[in-house]
């Protein structure tokens, strides 16, 4: 099905998310939509799927204009595969397939359904077991399953909204292969992504959005520089040097409770970690390998995990108010939905005073926002902002001085420019003598920025070493479980 966007405009308050966007997606192609965070990709997709109504403009599919979301009410027209799987955890694989089938069937015929599901999966090179519970599957497997389900229902337009963010290379490969297979069978695929190389390898064409405007459609493959030029106004350089300024010999010690160790932990690696101030520590591990729990345990006690204690000058424990924590669930854990950005700053700076000097606060907050390039108004609510802007907003609200900066998957869902900006900010903060601990499944990021690497595998710590050591260079093998315990 060919899709034509014609003059799509969507305005939220002061922010124009989509500004007169017009382009055509040819039938039976893989079409990428690229753009910085806040460029309007998600808004455009939501308008296509009918979750949002455009203020003006129309969508024409196979020559017919779509009115009043009538398009959506028909099953198997548009399917979205998002960053996180949207499925029923307590279902089996079979039930999950059946739930998507629609009203024309009332009983599950196990034999026939199983055969057709298994056959269907193997056509796309996957192996599935209809009896498995969804909750027993990994995130990657669940994404595969969601994708298979869309194909099983013969969905005509498939939108992949960064579905490979948290997947292993193998899983990415098989999803990409299956996408190509789906297009052969007549589907039209739209990929929303930040990852240029993946787009260039897998897509037929790519449309670029820049701050809400259409910035060109390119035939693939093409020169990546061409794309980056179109995507970013002026791509600022990322921090080039690592933090090699350990002028300060003050030691920091991390005491890790036994909970995080198993018998597979390398010898002598269950002892406290000694670090120098100004180091950047990466908690490396694949999605769901326990790295997030580690970061959280560093910040606060919880019922599920023991607390990790950090000491300064050997004996002085770093207190909670000396720690700054940036959670990856920005809306769930980091920001208040019904509170404006200005009021967030009021809570931050005036929490021990009875009244707020709103005028001087506005000035101060405005300064913080411009410094970190947060696109948004002080009277906006956090949910009005894009993911990258939310992340920068949270960073702009960090206290100026802290002993420990904890970042939970800091660049999840961010585009290249936002990620570079973020690391620029973090590197600046390291200069003022703090310890940064972050977790990530992005090996490039870890290699580029970390001084010390703690490797997680299957919920527990495998080993930890400075990046400069031999083992440090091999950390990928540790986190993927390739090197067995000695």
């Amino acid at each position: 099905m060919s899709i034509e966007f014609s003059g799509i405009t969507k305005i939220y308050g002061d922010v124009t998310a989509n500004d007169d966007i017009s382009f055509i997606i040819e039938s039976g192609t893989i079409h990428a939509i690229l753009g910085e965070n806040g460029a309007g990709k998600t808004t455009l997709i939501k308008i296509l799927t009918g979750q949002l109504e455009a203020d003006s403009g129309k969508i024409i599919i196979d020559g017919d204009e779509i009115k009043n979301n009538a398009f959506l009410t028909k099953r198997n027209r548009v399917g979205v595969l998002g960053q996180d799987p949207l499925d029923f955890k307590n279902f089996t694989v079979r039930e999950s397939f059946f739930a998507g089938l629609g009203k024309d069937k009332y009983w599950i015929n196990n034999k026939n359904t199983d055969a057709s599901i298994i056959n269907h999966a193997s056509n796309y090179g996957f192996v599935i077991n209809p009896e498995t519970k969804i909750s027993d599957l990994s995130i990657g497997k669940r994404q595969e399953l969601e994708f298979l389900r869309l194909l099983y229902n013969e969905t005509q337009i498939i939108v992949l909204d960064e579905p490979t963010s948290g997947l292993t290379d193998d899983q990415k490969m098989s999803i990409n292969l299956a996408t190509k297979e789906a297009v052969k069978n007549g589907a039209t695929v739209i990929i929303v992504s930040h990852k240029l190389m993946e787009v260039i390898e897998n897509c037929d064409r790519a449309t670029i959005l820049k701050s809400g405007k259409f910035a060109g459609t390119f035939d693939m493959p093409c020169d990546p520089n061409l794309l980056t030029k179109a995507m970013f106004q002026n791509l600022s350089r990322g921090p080039q040097v690592k933090s090699k300024h350990h002028l300060n010999n003050e030691n920091i010690r991390i005491d890790i409770p036994d909970y995080f160790f198993t018998k597979n932990t390398h010898k002598n690696h269950n002892e406290p970690i000694n670090l120098q101030k100004g180091s950047i520590v990466a908690i490396a591990g694949l999605q769901g390998s326990g790295t997030e729990e580690f970061i959280r345990s560093c910040f606060e006690e919880s019922n599920n995990y023991p607390k990790i204690k950090l000491f300064q000058k050997k004996t002085r424990e770093i207190q909670k108010f000396q720690k700054a924590y940036v959670p990856s669930d920005r809306i769930e854990k980091g920001l208040f939905k019904d509170v404006t950005i200005l009021e967030h700053f009021a809570i931050l700076y005036y929490k021990n005073k009875p009244f707020v000097n709103w005028k001087s606060l506005s000035k101060k907050a405005e300064k913080h926002l411009t410094k970190l390039r947060v696109k948004g108004n002080l009277n906006n609510y956090p949910t009005d902002l894009s993911g990258g802007n939310q992340q920068r907003l949270m960073l702009s609200m960090l206290p100026n001085q802290s002993s420990l900066l904890l970042l939970e998957d800091p660049t999840r869902g961010l585009d290249i420019q936002s990620a570079l900006d973020l690391w620029n900010i973090i590197m600046e903060r390291v200069q003022t003598d703090i310890l940064v601990v972050f977790n990530s499944s992005d090996t490039d990021e870890i290699e580029k920025y970390a001084d010390y690497i703690v490797c997680f595998y299957d919920g527990k710590i495998r080993c930890h070493h400075p990046q400069s050591s031999n083992d440090g260079k091999n950390f990928i093998n540790h986190i993927s479980g390739l090197i067995e315990s000695k």
Partner: protein, 362 residues
């Protein structure tokens, strides 16, 4: 979810539609009871504001309802369900009665002291809910319900036990307080001091919730308690504060009931105004000014009850039923956004009509 920002026309239309639907329901309900529903509506108005004495009574009823709405606005803002408000009102009344019955009751300062005691007792009752919630993880609804029962039991015990009228064994109430203990009216007029308390309190709350740091943090707690640690805010502390403040205001309501309306302690001292307040605040989507207006209308309906029975032979429970209908209709409309949907529908029709008309003219 479909996200829309409604224009002024749509909002105005939707208010109008709400009003029309509710009025229709009221009229249909009343016509089942009486030949002419409009007579009933007029007689309610007359019963509530028909004479000086009636207006006076209405205003006296309005004060505790408005105060319990104010108390509930605080706890709702911090995301808490203060079901224990009835108990807090009762305890406030007990506190005020204790002072009014003592030697202090004979002095001119008595109303001030007894209202303060009411505030204190109510606040303590509220704090228990808050502390149970934060330290022992007892849900505030359970704690509140339990404390309501305790409060109701306590007031009956006092009336038939230590504070009983000499030689009388009944639950009709304690002895009337000495005149000095009553909340005075200024001049020969309306219950001005009580109204003044309501006015000042609402202004204070409005400012607090809108501009103060405390109000902003309360709103933040209600919006997302999980984000609190990141801002180094102790969420528990603010939960306890909000319960303390709500309890204090509810206690004030109870105190005013005791020394200004009944002039004695009676078992039904709370009048069910706490639970009514919950409905009003929820239906007003936690907006202070809306709850104030609705409290006023409802106090009129309640006040008119006796007159309806005497003059029109309509049972005095009719105003309560009427309220229930109004609130049920209102909640249904606002939570199903029926009014907004119909407003869009009407605008769509008008647009179609005008375009057709223009087409015809051309």
């Amino acid at each position: 979810m479909i996200e829309r920002k409604n224009s002024t026309i749509i909002r105005f239309l939707s208010y109008l539609i709400t009003l029309i639907i509710i009025l229709t329901i009221v009229v249909v309900f009343l016509s089942m009871l009486n030949d002419n529903p409009f007579n009933v509506i007029i007689s309610i108005g007359e019963g509530a504001f028909g004479s000086f004495a009636r207006t006076y009574r209405t205003l006296l009823i309005f004060v505790p309802i408005a105060l319990s709405c104010a108390a509930l606005s605080v706890t709702f803002r911090s995301g808490m369900w203060n079901i224990g408000i009835e108990g807090q009102i009762i305890l406030g009344a007990i506190g005020a009665s204790m002072i009014a019955r003592s030697i202090i009751g004979e002095s001119q300062l008595s109303p001030l002291v007894s209202l303060s005691a009411g505030v204190l007792f109510g606040a303590i009752w509220g704090l228990i809910s808050g502390i149970l919630r934060t330290t022992s993880n007892v849900h505030e609804i359970f704690a509140g319900l339990g404390l309501n029962f305790v409060g109701a039991g306590l007031v009956i015990y006092l009336i038939i036990g230590p504070w009983k009228r000499i030689g009388v064994a009944s639950t009709s109430g304690t002895d009337i307080f000495p005149q000095t203990a009553w909340l005075p009216d200024i001049g020969n007029g309306l219950p001005l001091p009580a109204l003044l308390i309501v006015g000042v309190l609402y202004l204070f709350l409005y400012g607090m919730l809108r501009w103060s740091v405390f109000g902003t943090i309360l709103k933040a707690m209600g919006s997302n308690p999980y984000a609190a640690p990141r801002y180094y805010i102790n969420a528990d502390k603010y939960i306890i504060y909000s319960f303390g403040l709500a309890g204090a205001i509810a206690g004030l309501a109870g105190g005013i009931q005791a020394i200004s309306f009944y002039h004695k302690l009676v078992p039904s001292i709370s009048g069910g105004f706490g639970f009514l307040g919950i409905l009003i605040v929820l239906a007003s989507s936690q907006k202070l000014h809306t709850s104030l207006i609705v409290s006023f209308l409802f106090s009129g309906m309640i006040s008119a009850g006796p007159l309806l029975q005497i003059e029109y032979d309509i049972h005095s429970s009719v105003p309560w039923l009427l309220q229930a209908f109004v609130i049920a209709a209102w909640v249904f409309i606002s939570y199903s956004s029926l009014h907004i949907k119909s407003a869009y529908f009407i605008r769509g029709l008008t647009n179609k009509f005008t375009t057709n008309l223009l087409g015809l003219i051309k």
